[in-house]
Amino acid sequence: MRIGDLMDKDLTSITENTTLKEAIEILSQHNLTGLPVVDELGALVGFISEKDIIQASLPGYCDYLVGAAFIPDFDQLSEKLRKKGQEPVGKYMTREVIYFSEDDSDLHVALSLIQKGLKMAPVVGKDGVFIGIVSRAHLIEHIMCEEKEN
């Protein structure tokens, strides 16, 4: 099946000029772990995850962290996050984004997500415009439903 037929067609995204504070708010309000970054025409230019934001605030620690439980001092993190809050997303986002085309197969996407250890990835149309999100949860749901239908 084409990934374009089963992706989540939600266009929640931000631009490079969006502040980290706003990005955090959107992640929280939409219950997301990452956000596609697009230009004024809607073309995908980057991706920012929760991890990128933590890394921006605690660059020295991030490589050693497995989960938030290992953060030594939350006061330190919150103070640094407040300071970084007004900085633009473009400074910390990943520019080499792993993304999929709407015509990619579900199998190809599933394998890529597993191999690259990704929870979610953006999907773009033929013109490079961001058109949806595919997540591991989506794919598992799709495989499960397909099994039931068969």
């Binding site: 067609k9 939600d10 706003e22 025409l41 809607g42």
Partner: protein
């Protein structure tokens, strides 16, 4: 892409209660819960007829999550700004016996300045890939009353045709910006013009002036089961058969859906009106919002009474 804007969505709860009257305690024999708000209704109905669209606006809380989830399952593209609070619930009580409908509506969640700015940025970006824009419904607290005029002006800069269905000041601001199609609330027009719009002559006199403001199509309801269409090819009165009507809930959204599909499929003016009226009529023949099938709509088309005024 067709884009629908619903600034104040709702979860619509329809209860069927025979012989409903205020002051009593009733058990509903049927309750239907669906995502609502004019733009969202149009997106859902377009999807039923095989047309893709994107829905945008504001969502909040559990009701917002429910709406997002249903739209996702219907494969409708979404681009909503989430705000604090709770998306409203609208309750409709339908008494099939007495042919009476009762509605109860909430104001909706407060939209902060930041959320409003975020919506405008999303909107500006969406316009890059929009070929038709549908705006409709009430406004939540915090959103300026002249927003529809502003959104239409922004769309016109990109040469995007616009359809608006609103009332009160938001409709007035929309009309000043000159939308392509406007569904006019006749009670509001009556208040603005100071003329009673119960007679056809008065409706024609008042609504005809909208053409001067750049409105290509204006539609206003006439005696509940009819609509007057002001089109570039003339003025038409279209009537449905009132005997088969069960609920008028969301019929205006069905009518707009029909006008969009008619345009997408290149129908001439008269067929487009017939199709739009048949959509509204079919929607009115059952309690559930939307259409039984495309065939059911097409079967009603020849039964729409259409009269042209020269």
């Amino acid at each position: 892409m067709i884009v629908t804007v619903t600034l104040n969505p709702a979860v619509d709860e329809e209860f069927v209660v025979p012989e409903f009257r205020p002051g009593g305690w009733f058990r509903s024999r049927n309750a239907i819960r669906t995502p609502g708000g004019k733009g969202i209704n149009v997106s859902m109905m377009l999807s039923q007829l095989g047309y893709e669209s994107a829905a945008m606006g504001f969502l909040a809380g559990f009701n917002g999550a429910y709406i997002r989830d249903v739209l996702r399952r219907e494969r409708i593209t979404t681009n909503f700004v989430h705000v604090k609070g709770e998306t409203r619930t609208n309750v409709y009580i339908i008494d099939e016996t007495g042919h009476v409908e009762t509605g109860l509506s909430e104001p909706g969640p407060y939209v902060s300045e930041e959320a409003y700015d975020r919506f405008l940025r999303n909107y500006q970006r969406m316009l890059q890939r929009t070929r038709l824009l549908v705006l409709g419904g009430s406004l939540p607290p915090g959103v300026p009353q002249d927003i529809y005029g502003e959104l239409i002006r922004m769309a016109k800069e990109h040469n995007i045709p616009t359809i608006v269905d609103a009332a009160g000041l938001p409709l007035q601001s929309a009309l000043e910006a000159g939308p392509t199609i406007a569904k006019i609330d006749h009670r509001f027009m009556s208040r603005v013009s100071g003329i009673s719009l119960t007679s056809l002559d008065n409706i024609i006199k008042v609504v005809s002036k909208l053409h001067d403001q750049g409105v290509e199509w204006a539609i206003t309801s006439y005696h509940v089961y009819g609509d007057v269409f002001f089109t570039p090819k003339g003025i038409y009165l279209a009537l449905a058969d009132r005997r088969s009507v069960v609920s008028l809930f969301a019929t205006a959204d069905a009518l707009i859906t029909g006008l969009i599909v008619g345009a997408e499929e290149g129908m001439d003016v008269e067929d487009r009106i017939r199709f739009a009226m048949a959509c509204a009529w079919e929607d009115a023949m059952h309690v559930e919002k939307g259409f039984s099938s495309r065939d059911a709509i097409e079967a009603l088309m020849p039964r729409v009474q259409l009269e042209r005024f020269d």
